[in-house]
């Protein structure tokens, strides 16, 4: 556990010691704020619950983009800058490296997510929404964040550089986002399979509406587990190649 936390601590502080971390954070918060103002708030009066649902819908998109931007550097940057040799010569297991990297990215994404809380707070103060709805929405965002950061970690572990890492994780994420479309085009049993694998449609909408379903939590945690395991399995044989 100590190794995981040491890797996580260094990577987490690296986001705040470099301009990249601040640029990503500022960009996402500005985009989130603008979209909230133009789409969620809209021109006409709407029920507060609907505005909050729109906010979580927008935040889902920015969370996915944030995950790609945050994770693209995780392992690919180590390879590019030659610091992978330091990690490889340390008494750290591949599991500790991957989990440490994942935790650092997840921590930074959580900071960005929590920094957007002023928007639902405005709705809460000026309208009528329950705290439970806000908590459910943010739980959903953290669940999506966890799964997408794990996918990004996988992308970064298979790629040679950061652009490749962004391309790989972007491809996987887009594939999982359009699963619901594939579900419509196919017959059983693929309809159910694709539908279950959809990152947004089936699993995030309940959170967006203020409900926390155990099956949806399980889906996001399973996706996280799957992609982290794949990342570890992918980097393990590098000493033998």
């Amino acid at each position: 556990m100590r190794g995981i936390l040491l890797v996580a601590r260094r990577d987490f502080s690296a986001y705040f010691n470099s301009i990249w971390g601040y640029v990503v954070m500022a960009f996402l918060l500005v985009v989130n704020g603008l979209l909230f103002n133009t789409i969620a708030m809209g021109q006409s009066a709407r029920p507060s619950t609907q505005v909050l649902e729109q906010f979580f819908y927008i935040s889902f998109g920015t969370t996915v983009i944030a995950a790609v931007l945050i994770t693209m550097r995780l392992l690919a940057e180590e390879r590019q800058q030659g610091t992978q040799a330091l990690l490889d010569s340390c008494p750290l297991s591949d599991r500790q490296i991957i989990l440490g990297k994942y935790l650092s990215a997840m921590g930074f994404l959580s900071v960005i997510t929590i920094a957007s809380v002023y928007m639902p707070a405005l709705i809460f103060i000026n309208g009528k929404v329950s705290i439970g709805h806000i908590i459910a929405g943010y739980t959903g965002l953290l669940m999506v964040g966890s799964a997408t950061v794990a996918i990004g970690t996988f992308g970064s572990s298979v790629a040679r550089n950061q652009l490749e890492a962004a391309a790989v994780s972007g491809f996987v994420l887009i594939l999982m986002l359009v699963m619901w479309q594939l579900a419509r085009l196919t017959d059983a049993p693929f309809t159910d399979l694709f539908s279950q694998m959809s990152l947004y449609d089936k699993h995030f909408q309940p959170f967006q509406r203020g409900r926390i379903n155990l099956s949806d939590v399980t889906f996001y945690l399973s996706t996280t587990f799957l992609f982290l395991t794949m990342s570890i399995r992918f980097i393990e044989p590098r000493r033998w190649r």
């Binding site: 260094r10 010691n17 470099s18 040799a85 330091l86 010569s89 340390c90 008494p91 297991s93 033998w240």
Partner: protein, 317 residues
Amino acid sequence: MIEVKSLTRYYGSHPAVTDVSFTIADNEIVGILGLNGAGKSTILKVLAGLLMPTAGEVCIDGVDMLDASDSFRKQIGFLPEEPPLYVEMTVNDYLCWVGEVKGLSKAQVEDRLLEVVQLCQLESVADQVIDTLSHGFRKRVGIAQAIIHNPKFVILDEPISGLDPAQIVEIRQVITGLKAQCTVMISSHILSEVSQTCDRILVLHDGRIVAQGSEAELSDQLAATQHVEVTVKGDKLAFDNHLSTQEFIAGHKLTDCRPPYASAEVTLVDDNREALASTLVHSGFGIRSIQAGSSELEATFLSLTQTTPTRDTGGEA
């Protein structure tokens, strides 16, 4: 003691290192010398635990790296050719973090930090962000990270590459200072560096060790040879052919020269300079100069890596 037994490492189907064996005694500084592509970095990466051997064993005090990879890595400090630095960190923060990752407690790191900073002469930049440091200081930080956890065995891959003469002298002092604390292995293709810093030299060629020993021992191994540089007036190809056919020439290499002149570095079997001059004159070449070749170690190195067959392990050079 570090023991390497029959180490072989393939990249795909290409053998980078073949059947390499050597031992290094405690507190010895050993240099590994070879041309680019000879397999130096591959050996160092295997010793540092970055690569696994295809065959053979690497042991520290009798413990095989494959049996206890974590404890093996705790005993090793590694500086790759390009120092692995997190440039956004300060020198102190970076060294503390590396120390903790390599298994020291916070208190142990704090105790050790001052010692390492002094040894590597980093006092003036200890609180500086690494990104702002010169190349020489970055190398020193690289060495500091390799020794922060008090390893038994320190591996330095081309530690002076890219440094100016003043920095080379400083780094040489740092490396010599390490001898009191640990065993050191240095790779370099700079002959003078290896001869000045190391107690013993391993000469590597085409993934095999072709000779090993101190500078004097290596020179003794080739005592029967004489290295000369020859410049003649005549056709370059004819000169090349002529040198190839002489029995008293162990090897030769043409060097750059403007027509109508031709030059070569020639390794003679015994001191046959008179015979060389005689045969060149009889063959119609006008001798411009025959002079002693490069330094003793350089001559040895060139002989070992250019002549065939090889003189030690029986491998092909």
